[in-house]
């Protein structure tokens, strides 16, 4: 049991715990912030796995993303403060079984599969960043460009779907 294993386990546990809190609280704001802290704990877990760039990036990106999620939660839920303790779930038994079965299945695969030899050498943080940059602009450039174009398409599509339709008759609304 090394220190690294301890920290990975600790942050993984925190992440899962906050993930459970997301679906157990009635307050929508708490739900969104719990998801944010789940993702932040994941970022810390990446840091303890010595993937520094991705850890910091995860911590940075998810803060913005989940805050935006929070405002949509408050906008679209009927009871954002959770004071009425409204039940917002259906097919609970089926979902619990499905969640549990997928968890057990994935753990079984993780434990019983022979993953092969564990790597011993490991690039340091600065070297990783360099490697990742070269990978992005060299071999995987097409894939990354495709991701960029996909984001652009999604942005345009999202704006087009969400924009308020103007009524022709009156010209204003």
């Amino acid at each position: 049991m090394t220190a690294q294993a301890f920290f990975i386990g600790f942050f993984g546990l925190a992440s899962v715990w906050f993930g459970i809190v997301v679906f157990r609280t009635y307050s929508m704001m708490r739900s969104a912030i719990a998801l944010l802290f789940s993702q932040t704990a994941l970022g810390a877990m990446f840091l303890s796995m010595q993937a520094e760039f991705l850890g910091v990036l995860q911590i940075m990106m998810m803060a913005t993303e989940m805050s935006i999620m929070a405002i949509f939660m408050v906008m679209f839920m009927m009871d954002p403060g959770g004071l009425g303790e409204m039940d917002m779930t259906h097919q609970k038994r089926l979902s619990l079984i499905a969640g549990f079965v997928s968890f057990v299945g994935a753990v079984a695969v993780a434990v019983f599969v022979d993953w092969g030899p564990v790597a011993t050498t490991f690039p340091d943080a600065a070297q990783q960043t360099v490697d990742l940059g070269l990978e992005l602009l060299d071999r995987s450039m097409l894939i990354f460009e495709t991701a960029g174009i996909t984001i652009l398409t999604a942005m345009i599509a999202a704006t087009a779907v969400a924009i308020q339709p103007v009524k022709k008759e009156t010209g204003k609304k």
């Binding site: 679906f23 993937a51 760039f53 089926l94 969640g99 994935a106 990978e135």
Partner: protein, 107 residues
């Protein structure tokens, strides 16, 4: 289970599996579109943990492993953007984003 397997890898994979399970539960049990999207985010987070753990403990010399995580982050962002756009359109048309009510196309 081979003797040279690392305990860190197993812990990380278990955490990923747990996140995946919680996400599946959330995505199936919630009635609101925004909450369903939260479940999907957790599922993607579980995938991310697994890929990073594989990269770190099995193939640290292949930078493409890290790039895969970047792509998943992109997918999360795209999912959010498109999901919220649909939520806004639906809310404007019907006044709610409850998925129990979204049975307009049911035969």
């Amino acid at each position: 289970m081979s003797p040279e397997i690392s305990i860190e890898l197993i812990i990380a994979l278990t955490a990923g599996a747990a996140l995946f399970g919680v996400g599946v539960y959330g995505a199936l049990s919630q009635t609101n579109l925004v909450m369903i999207m939260m479940g999907v985010e957790l599922i993607l987070a579980g995938a991310m943990v697994n890929i990073l753990a594989f990269w770190r403990y099995l193939h640290p010399d292949v930078a493409a492993g890290q790039m895969f995580v970047l792509i998943i982050m992109t997918v999360m962002a795209i999912e959010m953007a498109v999901g919220f756009a649909i939520a806004i359109a639906r809310f404007r048309a019907k006044g709610s984003v409850e998925m129990e009510e979204a049975v307009d196309l049911k035969g």
